[in-house]
């Protein structure tokens, strides 16, 4: 009896102590993240516009915003396919290209590795807006380098406006986003690559494994967690691409076939002063990304246990 009491107290303390230590951080997160999230959710249940802001009175409409979003044909035929298709391609492209660059960097000597990684950093450091304008300028119909070269080579008779077609439009966005996103992948994967034990690679080589076999059977499994982080982050970023589409000619909404979730929600909510509707879109996007992340984390963890 006398012995169990202190033990219980100690157990309780052990249970409480971590939370006490976390409390300040959690309090900050609650104020900065949780409360805005709750507010956004509350707005999403209202028809919230300029008039509601002026009067300060709530205007509850239940789930009508959600119903309107999910019933919108534009969402299913244009916005979601564009967003998801683009995210898949750009995540795949960014990770593949970034990994390739990481492998290249790992095989370089110190000097050339420094030079190459500095060059890569420049691409990373470039603001999305600047980068987008550079790509727009390259593909400009009348004065762009791309059209000039194609016409010079005789592959094109007349200038073509690449921004008016859904596929070519997104091909340019894809180039832009991959170019802007691969340095992060390259640097992260490089760190992982340098941690792969040399002995394992040498042993595999002795056993007659070629370079591809060594890469896919030894390096990739070793880097599973690195890839998990890189893929999840890229997915989140590429899902909510906004500036890279909005700033392209026709991307702000005048070319309806290239709308993605980011631009669509901006045009439909803020442009129309329908803040409730925009909040509902934000809530749905958050849920969608949470699901994607959860599924991915689970698969990675499941493989880990095996």
């Amino acid at each position: 009896m006398t012995e169990t009491l202190p033990r219980l107290g100690r157990a309780r303390a052990a249970l409480v102590r971590p939370w006490l230590l976390l409390a300040p951080a959690l309090a900050v997160l609650a104020v900065l993240l949780l409360w805005p999230l709750v507010r956004v959710f509350l707005f999403s249940l209202q028809d919230y516009g300029l008039r509601e802001i002026t009067t300060g009175e709530p205007n509850w409409i239940g789930t009508a915003n959600y119903a309107e979003i999910l019933a919108s044909p534009e969402l299913w035929t244009v916005v979601l396919p564009n967003t998801v298709g683009f995210a898949v391609l750009s995540v795949a492209g960014t990770v593949a290209f970034g990994t390739g660059v990481a492998v290249l960097l790992a095989s370089l000597g110190t000097f050339w590795r420094t030079v190459t990684s500095s060059a890569i950093m420049a691409a990373w450091a470039m603001p999305a807006v600047t980068g987008t304008y550079v790509w727009v300028w390259i593909f400009d119909a009348d004065r762009g380098v791309f059209n000039d070269v194609l016409m010079g080579l005789g592959l094109l008779d007349d200038p073509t406006n690449w921004f008016t077609n859904r596929w070519t439009f997104y091909a340019i966005v894809l180039l832009n986003v991959i170019h802007h996103g691969f340095p992060f992948v390259a640097v992260t994967v490089l760190a992982g690559l340098l941690g792969v034990p040399k002995e394992m690679l040498e042993a595999a080589e002795m056993d007659g494994a070629g370079s591809f076999r060594r890469f896919f059977s030894i390096v990739v499994p070793q880097l599973r967690q690195v890839f998990a982080v890189v893929i999840i982050l890229s997915t989140i970023w590429d899902f909510k691409v906004f500036a890279q589409v909005y700033l392209m000619p026709g991307g702000a909404g005048s070319n309806r076939s290239v709308l993605n979730l980011g631009v669509w929600s901006y045009v439909e909510s803020f442009g129309q002063n329908r803040y409730g509707f925009g909040s509902a879109i934000a809530v749905l996007l958050t849920l969608l990304l949470l699901v994607v992340t959860a599924v991915y984390v689970r698969t990675v963890l499941a493989e880990e246990e095996r």
Binding site: A141, G253, S254
Partner: protein, 431 residues
């Protein structure tokens, strides 16, 4: 600065002398200042007039002489202004008087933030003298909420050098315009005879109106877009046809905005284009070689005359939070009539909102002033003065129509019908 320094003083005196009423002082920024000390708070957009600081120093002096009240002018960036208005409307901290862009006035009036001005304007006896397009834009629910202050207008600007070389005169009808474009194209096959931009709604409406069509009309409480009427379609057909059939524009122009048109025109690559009365300065700034090599004419109607063009500019609006509305209007009147209105127009390069002040300008022989002034007085129009027109602009309804026609995705009939349906639905707030 002055604002931050004055506050504590007001609060301190309040606490010492009128302890009982201090609670009232905390009721809100704009309100408290115009209350006791006879100050009028004003927001003015930055960048319209390069000498705005000096201008308002003079206005302040004159205003104090006339009314005994002091003026507290704050300059606001155009880019932030809409958000600032919205948040200050929400918090009840709006200024007493503010410059409001013409398309915002109905929106803020609808939100209940603005005070109607009819009574005051009638009292001042200037009702008949106001420029019509600006009155139209400032009228919401049959009441005037925005006092016309200044505006610019778009006309047809052309490259005189190219016109001379091609041996053509500035057009006065659509047929002449097309002939001029053909002649320019023959003389300059690598240049753009006439720029038909896809993402610039204000360059489209003159052709709609010039053919006798309407952008949108109000009947009772219901707006109806007329973009798909036979007349409007004829105008859109003509304007887009210059690009799609004549090949007088360029591939790139399909996604151009007005700034792209300006860049290309300044580079000397464009024969003619619909451009604003405020652009000549920017053209010469971008390329000094263009000095004296371009001129303007009013946009021709189909068979002659002047096709209406949107007046883009600003109103002065009085907010409901203004404690002393007579004082507020005294300021509005001082700014929009007489000497100061004229001076503002001269310094900023825009036209004043009163017909009588334009007489002088109309007599000008400057090829970059007179045609714009003529367009302003005889061919000025407004976009639909609906609280929801901003939503139509945000949705880029007209640009969507233009781009789908110019890129060959849709014909005029289909695209204009879709645009009209969308515009009607947004204007009536039924989504």
């Amino acid at each position: 600065m002055t604002r931050a320094m004055r506050r504590p003083v007001v609060a301190a005196t309040g606490a010492l002398l009128l302890a009982a009423t201090t609670a009232a002082c905390g009721s809100g920024g704009g309100g408290t200042e115009s209350e006791g000390d006879g100050t009028l708070s004003v927001w003015i957009m930055q960048g319209t007039n390069p000498d705005a600081e000096d201008f308002f120093a003079d206005v302040s002096t004159a205003f104090e002489e006339e009314t005994g009240a002091t003026l507290d002018v704050e300059f606001v960036e155009w880019a932030d202004a809409h958000d600032r208005f919205v948040t200050s409307i929400a918090g009840g901290t709006t200024p007493d008087v503010a410059e409001t862009g013409t398309t915002w006035t109905p929106e803020f009036a609808d939100a209940g933030a603005l005070a109607p001005l009819d009574e005051y304007v009638d009292g001042a006896g200037v009702t008949e003298d106001l420029v019509e397009g600006l009155v139209e834009a400032g009228t919401y629910d049959e009441q005037l909420y925005g006092m016309p202050w200044y505006a610019g207008v778009r006309s047809l600007v052309y490259n005189t050098e190219m016109f001379e070389k091609a041996g053509v005169e500035p057009p006065t009808t659509w047929a002449e315009l097309e002939e001029a474009a053909a002649a320019l194209k023959e003389e300059y096959p690598d240049k753009i005879a006439v720029a038909v931009p896809g993402d610039a709604e204000f360059t489209v409406y003159p052709w709609v109106w010039g053919a006798g069509g309407d952008v949108a009309t109000l009947d009772g409480d219901t707006w109806t877009s007329g973009l798909d009427s036979p007349e409007s379609q004829e105008g859109i057909e003509f304007w887009t046809g210059l690009a799609t059939e004549g090949g007088y524009s360029s591939e790139g122009a399909t996604t151009w905005r007005e700034t792209d048109v300006l860049d290309a025109f300044a580079a000397g690559d464009v024969g003619m284009a619909v451009m604003g009365s405020w652009t000549p300065g920017a053209i010469v700034d971008a390329n000094a070689d263009m000095e004296g090599k371009f001129a303007a004419v009013p946009i021709p109607g189909k068979d002659g005359g002047i096709a209406p063009s949107v007046l883009g500019g600003s109103h002065l609006s009085m907010f409901e939070t203004a404690e002393d509305k007579d004082l507020a209007f005294a300021f509005i009147e001082m700014m929009t009539t007489g000497e100061f209105a004229q001076q503002w127009g001269e310094q900023s390069g825009y036209f004043p909102g009163q017909v009588s002040l334009l007489d002088e300008t109309l007599k000008s022989t400057d090829p970059l002033v007179a045609p714009f002034a003529e367009q302003f007085v005889d061919g000025g129009a407004s976009v639909p003065a609906a609280a929801t027109y901003g939503a139509v602009q945000a949705k880029l309804t007209t640009s969507t129509m233009m781009q789908s026609i110019l890129s060959g995705d849709a014909d005029v009939a289909t695209a204009s019908k879709a645009a009209a349906e969308e515009m009607t639905s947004i204007l009536n707030g039924s989504e």
